[in-house]
């Protein structure tokens, strides 16, 4: 049984590395990179659900009977788009944050906020 599960375990490991980067790193760009890795690994998980042994890409041709399932592919196409949309928005925020604070380190940003007064947005 476990022989057929190796793919899932590998994917889970990748997902967790991504999640770890998101939470543990204080740099905002690095967080977004981690988010990317986390998302791509989840995409791999979905695609692995659709794969059939000896299947081929779900483009119908004469003489081919076994196809992998097209639905996960469609879902992940959508999810990739969502991912890049999030990345673009996050990066735009990063640029603005850097212009406003001069730093991208989360701890430093909070320090600078505290220094400028809790209620006194500049």
């Amino acid at each position: 049984m476990s022989g057929s599960l190796y793919v899932y375990w590998l994917i889970f490991a990748l997902m967790m590395i991504g999640l770890y980067i998101v939470i543990s790193h204080g740099n905002l760009v690095k967080k977004l990179i981690g988010l990317n890795i986390f998302q791509v690994s989840v995409f791999l998980l979905y695609i692995s659900f659709g794969k059939v042994r000896d299947g081929s890409a779900p483009i119908v041709k004469e003489g081919i009977d076994t196809y992998s399932h097209p639905l996960p592919h469609v879902l992940i196409l959508t999810a990739i788009v969502v991912g890049v949309a999030t990345t673009a928005l996050g990066l735009a925020l990063v640029v603005r944050i850097f212009e406003a604070y001069g730093s991208l380190e989360e701890d430093l940003l909070h320090e600078r906020d505290a220094a400028s007064g809790v209620d006194g947005p500049s």
């Binding site: 986390f38 659900f49 969502v82 603005r96 940003l109 906020d113 809790v118 947005p121």
Partner: protein, 493 residues
Amino acid sequence: MTAELPALQVVIPLLCAPLCLLFRSRTAAWLMFLLAALASLGCAVLMAGQVAGGDMLRYEMGGWEPPVGIEYVIAGFNVPLLLLVSTIAVVVAVYGRRSLESEISSSRIPLLYACLCLNLTGLLGIVSTGDVFNAFVFLEIASLSSYALIAMGKGRRALLAAFQYLVIGTVGAVFILIGVGLTYAVTGSLNMADLAARLPDAYGNRALTAGAVFVFVGFAVKMAVFPLHGWLPDAYAEAPSAVSTFLAATGTKVAIYAFMRFAFTVFGAALVFERLPLDRIGLSLASLAMLVGAAAACFQTDLKYLLAWSSVAHVGYIVAGYSLATVDGVQASYLHLINHAVIKGSLFAAAGILMLRLGSVRLEALSGLGRTMPWTFGAIAVAGLGLVGVPLTAGFVSKWALATALIDEGQGLVLAAMLVSSLLAVVYTGRIIEIGWFREPSGSTAAAGTTPVSMGVATWALVLASLYFGVDPRLPASLADAAASALLGPGGG
């Protein structure tokens, strides 16, 4: 035409968003948003009439029968939310015109209205859809637009708040994606009704259990349930006033609805409450949220932060209600959801008026408000009493229903937490009233222009609605009743 309503109510706001971009004029964009809000309200009212008898509207997108295609399902469980979201959108459209103009540079306003339309589209889509993956897509529409809207706040902290929300929110969304994926692997389906039919065979499957956990954790992030509430205070407090009003009254509420929809009509109470101890976890987190949120609200020095923390507490009340998994509990929870949306909306709206006239919503700047701005202060005071749950306000009705439901189930500790939290609400509301009524006006308070009529009217409309729901709670109560019976009844989903 009436058969097309489920699609139209989402498509019209969607269509308005690109039009805002094309016209690039402030007035035209505002009209578009108003049109979007009014149209969705109209559709919601018509659909409420259609499902009043306990019927269910199903709409097959593209003419493909589910589970092959995507369907929209409108029934008792989501009509109240459609009404709520679109009503708040109309109020915010009226309110926001002057408020946004005072807080945002004019070149950005058309884009901002486009984002508001998109946010409305996303929220309505999550509420109406009957497909789990489609719900994820619309959740992302709502989330992305709200990140952008929050970042438009005045200070630089708004940017940071938006970024933090983006990271936490995306992790939550990916969790939902993982959960949906695991469920899909076990059942092969994405349609909620189809899932509900197939899942009982798979009960006991560990992948399914884990999938449910991931979905619930993901939605808990979007709902800002303690301890995943970290993003909420900053996001709500730093956003532009009109945006805070809209998001505070709708954003978390829609996530809560989605949670209930997944829990009761997709995974089913048998999985969620028997195999997973979600009731106990929900009740304990809810109690903690009530205490922590209310206690933190007492220590805030800024009105918007105070209100945002109080939202954390009130999410706790709502979670406590449906975690009981009884009809009374869900009904109370739904009722509180509606009432709290109206009350919190009016409070954030009032805070927006203060922001416009005083340039600040720090509590010390409010001294003497009762004399300089009696109407706005009155709105804050009346709505604040609603937060506490004083009789004759909407807050009292739903808290009473919640307390009864808790007593029926013998949840004494949660009830105690609720009482303590309400006492703390007395403290923080009392502070505002004390500062506003008993202190002498300071220099900055005295120097203020006049409140735009549109903003005052919008704020008071919400306040009066909350009062009306307190005196005559038939409308929200009947909606909540229908919702609870549709959620828990047979064949839901």
